[in-house]
């Protein structure tokens, strides 16, 4: 059995020329020990070198194999692994282009927009054609960070055309960027809130704070005061409070007491004179019974005359007494009449005093009400302007985001400098035209943005944003924003405040609002003016018979259409400030005055009626006493007349008797003259000489 010969590894199997051995074998071994080991195995025969591996241990044979592999590897001209990697790179690029590219762009777009809008952003059908310079999306949905279950905006298609030649020059020239099928406020099936988004919570808190009217306390106060001024007067309470200040009641009481005393006095006197007159019945009958012609002699006549003279003297005395009483009674009656006049004056004064309590306050007392209500009623105007504020907030949020991004870049990058861009080079970023359009029920709108350029002095077109809203029911509205100004023209946009004015007893408030506004801005500050007109205002009462509602509705009717001129300014730290000058100041004040006057008149009438009721009893009592006194005075006067008649009656009867006696004596004398002589005449004369 022959011994097995150990063969050298394949690379060393054939003998090679010495020159080749040195160049292709030994020079490809870089470790001196390995080179020494390989040289020790070389056998030279006929100018040829072969490797003798016979008798090598396993370890040395393994080392020889490794050296052979290293020689093969070091001989290679091409790196096949690298070629394989390059093939992989090409395949990977193709895979990226056809499969990964659009997914990557989609993710980048969503992430960037989520950082700006702080809400979920969803896209679909993203397609980027690098060589064609075209980008498109079939869906772009941006959630509303303040209302996570609704979308802020949604577009059915987004398309952009980018100039690739400019892109290869390091410049971005977007020729057309279009957003179409825009819809706002569409519902979401999942929450649009970003996970771990603290800013979103803050934004929601801010919105809640904005919705909470700070003047609600003032409104409640105002409502209470208006009601107190213009309605619900408690006349009984006012009467009780003011009774001490009413003079008529006290005067009536005092006057009544006086008249009652007088009445008692004259009642006694009347009774006395009544009795006295009754006593005169016998005398009157006696006088009436006397027949002046019935006397047969002088003595009888003389006796009767004496009696009648006595009656006359008595009548004369009574007459003088009753005349005195009557004068006194009349004086007291006049005094009572004076009291009556005084009472009437006091009652008039009390009515005037009552009127002064509920009469119209001064004009400045309703000015505060006007200003507070104006603040409430300017809510639709503020709501409109809040869109501008919100737009500016978005702009600033975007600006902060880009600033932060830039700041982050400078921290990471190694600082370096670049040569300035040539003055005649086109701008680095140009957006020639971007547009968006959308429709909602009864409303269509479009946005047209032109010439947004990083270096505007290198571009002919002026930057502008043209906003158009078209509502068939109200007409078209437009806004034009340029680099330094904003002009808004809104003929009429319907608004509905719902029950947001319930604090002032308005259940619903809607109408149309027209706006014409111009805004200018400089660094971080926006200011401008606005003219607003509200028409077709429709209010619904929240509380029946509400004074405040009547006040507002009356005021708005008087200024229909409601116009307002205002100035506003916006800065990031201070937010939006709005100063409105409306006709409401005057009209609301007038309406408040009118209503308060009306309320005061009603209240006054009620109060007067109540006061009249309260005065009626005392006045009636006084007037009754006064009437009684008057009756008594008249009675005394009648008695005076009666007694005067009795006196005349006695006097007349005396005269009648005397005349009768004279006539009889004259007749007898004439008879004696006719029958006798002078003696006879003397005798007659002696006879006649009593």
């Amino acid at each position: 059995m022959s011994k097995k010969i150990t063969k050298a590894p394949g690379i060393f199997g054939k003998p090679v020329k010495k020159k080749k051995w040195d160049k292709k074998f030994l020079r490809k071994v870089y470790l001196p020990e390995d080179r020494k080991f390989l040289s020790s195995l070389a056998v030279e025969k006929d100018d040829m070198i072969s490797v003798d591996a016979d008798g090598l241990s396993k370890k040395d044979l393994k080392r020889l194999k490794a050296i052979g592999k290293a020689i093969k590897k070091n001989r290679k001209g091409l790196n096949f692994i690298l070629i394989f990697i390059l093939i992989l790179l090409v395949a990977g690029s193709a895979f990226f282009h056809f499969y990964l590219k659009n997914k990557l762009v989609q993710r980048v777009v969503e992430n960037q927009l989520e950082n700006i809008f702080l809400a979920e952003v969803d896209t679909a059908g993203v397609n980027l054609s690098i060589f064609g310079g075209h980008f498109s999306m079939n869906l772009l949905v941006i959630a509303n960070t303040e209302e996570p279950m609704t979308n802020l905006v949604e577009f059915t298609t987004v398309e952009a055309d980018i100039d690739t030649a400019e892109l290869l020059q390091g410049r971005v020239l977007i020729e057309e960027l279009g957003f179409s099928g825009m819809r706002r406020g569409t519902p979401r099936t999942t929450s649009g809130k970003l996970k771990n988004d603290a800013d979103t919570g803050k934004a929601a808190e801010r919105v809640e704070a904005e919705d909470d009217p700070s003047s609600s306390g003032a409104v409640e106060n105002m409502v209470g005061q208006i009601s107190a001024l213009a309605g619900n007067i408690d006349v009984a309470e006012i009467y009780e409070q003011q009774k001490e200040n009413l003079k008529s009641f006290r005067l009536i009481e005092e006057s009544k007491s006086s008249v009652e005393g007088w009445k008692t006095h004259w009642q006694g006197k009347t009774d006395e004179w009544s009795s006295r007159v009754d006593d005169w019945d016998a005398s009157v009958k006696y006088i009436a019974s006397v027949d002046a012609d019935s006397f047969s002699d002088i003595a009888g006549a003389q006796s009767t005359i004496t009696k009648l003279q006595s009656i006359y003297q008595s009548a004369e005395t009574d007459y003088k007494r009753i005349q005195s009483d009557y004068q006194e009674a009349e004086e007291q009656y006049d005094e009572a009449a004076a009291l009556m006049d005084e009472i009437r004056s006091a009652v008039d004064a009390d009515y005037a005093y009552i009127e002064s309590i509920v009469t119209l306050p001064a004009g400045d007392k309703v000015d505060w009400a006007a200003s507070i209500l104006e603040e409430q009623l300017s809510m639709p105007l503020k709501k409109y302007l809040s869109y501008l504020e919100r737009g500016l907030e978005w702009y600033n949020r975007f600006k902060r985001y880009t600033d932060k991004k830039d700041a982050g870049k400078s921290e990471v990058r190694r600082p370096s400098r670049q040569l300035p861009v040539p003055a005649d080079a086109p701008p680095a970023f140009t957006l020639v035209h971007a547009f968006a359009s959308g429709e909602e029920p009864g409303l269509s709108y479009k946005f047209d943005l032109r010439n947004i350029v990083s270096e505007p002095d290198k571009w002919d077109g002026k930057a502008s944003l043209d906003l158009g809203i078209d509502a068939p029911s109200t007409g078209a509205a437009s806004a034009m924003i340029t680099e330094d100004s904003l002009e808004v023209d809104v003929p009429a946009v319907p608004f509905d405040l719902g029950d947001s004015l319930s604090a002032v007893d308005i259940a619903s408030f809607r109408g149309s609002l027209s706006v014409a506004s111009a805004v200018g801005w400089d660094e971080g500050r926006f200011k401008g003016n606005v003219e607003l007109g509200a028409t077709d205002l429709q209010l619904k009462e929240a509380v029946s018979d509400s004074i405040v509602y009547r006040l507002i509705s009356t005021s708005l009717e008087s200024v229909n259409p409601l116009t307002a001129a205002g100035e506003f300014a916006w800065t990031e730290p201070d937010g939006l400030s709005l100063k409105l000058d409306t006709e409401l100041d005057e009209s609301l004040g007038d309406a408040a005055k009118a209503l308060i006057s009306e309320g005061a008149e009603e209240g006054l009438a009620m109060l007067k009626e109540y006061l009249g009721d309260q005065l009626a009893g005392p006045l009636d009592g006084f007037e009754s006493e006064y009437g009684d006194l008057e009756g008594l005075v008249r009675g005394i006067k009648n008695y005076q007349t009666d007694i005067d008649g009795y006196k005349d009656m006695a006097k007349d009867k005396i005269a009648e008797i005397e005349n009768s006696v004279k006539d009889k004596l004259k007749s007898e004398a004439e008879n004696v003259i006719k029958d006798g002589a002078s003696d006879a005449l003397k005798n007659i004369g002696n006879k006649l000489n009593f």
């Binding site: 490809k28 071994v29 870089y30 470790l31 001196p32 020990e33 390995d34 393994k62 080392r63 490794a66 050296i67 592999k69 290293a70 020689i71 070091n74 790196n79 690298l82 990697i85 030649a165 290869l168 020059q169 390091g170 990058r413 190694r414 600082p415 370096s416 400098r417 670049q418 040569l419 040539p422």
Partner: protein, 176 residues
């Protein structure tokens, strides 16, 4: 330990039949790549060329990382140099002209750090190459046998981590 294998491979490569020039070129190219900014087309282009040129990838990757750590210390010298060069008439014109060619603007030549790093890297490439090659040859012929037989290494072998490393080196060195 995750770093043992790569370190062992580097040690093996340092002491293997790998061409010293390939290792030295990898170190010199790594220095060049570390000096120039990476967000441009020059960097990946040079990197691919270095891969094609059969340099030692392990050394190249490791030394790019190592040199990237120290280039911020060199930047204050490189950037002003690049800026002066960039401002000089011919270079300035050349850069403007190059940037006019579609796509070449992304090579980032209009950057003081790029120009300075590129110039410094090219100038330093040859000295770094020869220095690296000298060190590798010296290591292989003189230092490696002495280190392998030294009492220090025998003592160090007792440390658990270094023991694992040496075992890994042996495992990879058996290939040769």
């Amino acid at each position: 330990m995750f770093f043992i294998k790569p370190v062992a491979k580097l040690i093996v490569a340092l002491n293997s039949n790998t061409k010293p020039g390939a290792v030295a070129a990898a170190v010199a190219t790594a220095f060049l790549l570390a000096l120039i900014p990476s967000l441009n087309l020059v960097w990946p282009l040079l990197f691919i060329i270095s891969l094609i040129a059969r340099l030692n990838w392990g050394f190249e990757f490791v030394f790019i990382a190592v040199f990237k750590l120290i280039v911020p210390l060199i930047d204050p010298f490189i950037e002003p140099m690049g800026w002066r060069l960039l401002q000089s008439g011919p270079v300035s014109s050349l850069v403007y002209n190059v940037n006019e060619i579609p796509g070449l603007i992304y090579f980032g030549f209009n950057d003081s750090l790029m120009i300075g790093g590129l110039l410094a890297g090219i100038i330093a490439w040859v000295p770094v190459f020869f220095l690296s090659r000298f060190i590798i040859v010296l290591f292989r012929e003189k230092l490696s046998p002495r280190i392998a037989n030294s009492k220090f290494i025998a003592a160090v072998k007792r440390f658990p981590i270094l023991g694992k490393l040496i075992a890994a080196v042996k495992q990879f060195s058996e290939v040769y």
